[in-house]
Point group: none
Chain length 142, copies 4
């Protein structure tokens, strides 16, 4: 099973709806497939310049270590020097706060990752999870 | 006037529809706003690894010189050394073939650019133009 | 089906044997999985400094466009400006001469790519093909 | 004396055997020669996307300062700002935790470095040391 564009577009639509309904600040949302390629992305109106880059680096952090960024955040704060080194080694960098969520299928296989950035990290993550659930897939925020 | 996410999503939807109706190969479509930030992107199922990068570098080439890549292609071939230097100087590179299209408003003001890659360059451009027209904006392929 | 390390090591062993038997110059051999991640690599004694980078960029060129570098070479020479732009857009660059070979399974599905560099391009390719065949997979040099 | 491919392949074989016998998580193993060129590498099945990059950046950290990453970790934590600067200055970055091990000959001359990533840092280092010892060389983890 692979991540289809249909699924990716559902994730984005529902994550946007979630953010609008909850009155979040403008979100950047990036979905990477298992190769780390950008499968789909949106930037809400009013987003600051680097929002896409931050959202992508959250999703990349998920794939880099096969875990959601909520768990990666603990590693990054416990062993800051390791995190800094890893971020220096991975193209495009790594952002280690909540809002990067692995996309798994029902069997637990990783299909890709979503990165959301723009509001609080917890809210970013909630938007990603809402989207993944709506696509009938399993969200793993770490 | 700025490029709204609504307009970007219309461009992508119609460009995808255009490609499907004409039986194009899988497309990568990237829309950049006037700052060069990724406003929206999609990668059709079956796309090769670098399709997003190529599409983005077509759109980037438009913004780099305020002209569509059809015109930039002439510059790139006439003065290859200049193009090589420019591509080496711009983050993410520049792809100088048709399929990069400036998005202008009715007054000619540049709002952003679309890059499409996956089929022939002419077909890539046609998908981008269809999308921009559908959004009520003006396509400038160069 | 995915590219296993066992298969990758068979490819490398047989490609090295091929080169030694035919008295090739020292080879760099890099195998990328479908994500573009380095699955396995070797550098024969006496290799010049950038041999790994060149071999990897041959394999990357295969995955970038889903075709072996023998076919990509024709595109690169026919439309040099396109190739230069693509190489500027893809992380790690692209080397467009024979010696980059797609690894397919029996059904034609792409599993990864091999890049070989060190001797003539034709010889580089022959070593890659020998390795892929020995692993029971299908070589697609383009 | 230089690091031969034979020695590098022994290191990798024994490091892999060590990890399998001890039931480690999938490992990425990268060996750099004294120039920093990738001499040999493997990625075990099931490795996450950036495992090669992390392993290489451990080996690179060894060569960057002629010391194993166990010692470099102390520097990185004692003078974090120095480490951050160094990681930003070195192509491919630096990962400053155990698992990067210098390869020395019997006279102490540095021949290259091994980086291992995938399990705990201590286990990663143990696999590297086992491999270097098996090749009749001297492991310097720092």
């Amino acid at each position: 099973m692979t991540l289809t564009l249909d699924a990716a577009q559902t994730i984005i639509k529902v994550a946007l709806d979630h953010g609008r309904a909850a009155n979040f600040k403008p979100l950047g949302i990036v979905i990477l497939d298992i190769r780390g390629a950008v499968k789909a992305a949106v930037l809400q109106d009013g987003s600051s310049l680097s929002r896409f880059d931050i959202a992508r680096a959250k999703a990349k952090a998920c794939l880099a270590f096969d875990r959601g960024t909520r768990a990666f955040e603990k590693i990054a704060t416990d062993r800051l020097h390791f995190f800094i080194g890893a971020a220096s080694a991975v193209e495009g960098g790594l952002v280690p706060v909540a809002g990067g969520v692995l996309i798994r299928d029902k069997n637990g296989t990783i299909l890709g990752a979503v990165g959301v950035s723009g509001d609080t990290s917890d809210n970013d993550e909630a938007a990603a999870v809402a989207g993944i659930n709506a696509a009938g897939l399993v969200a793993d925020g770490g």
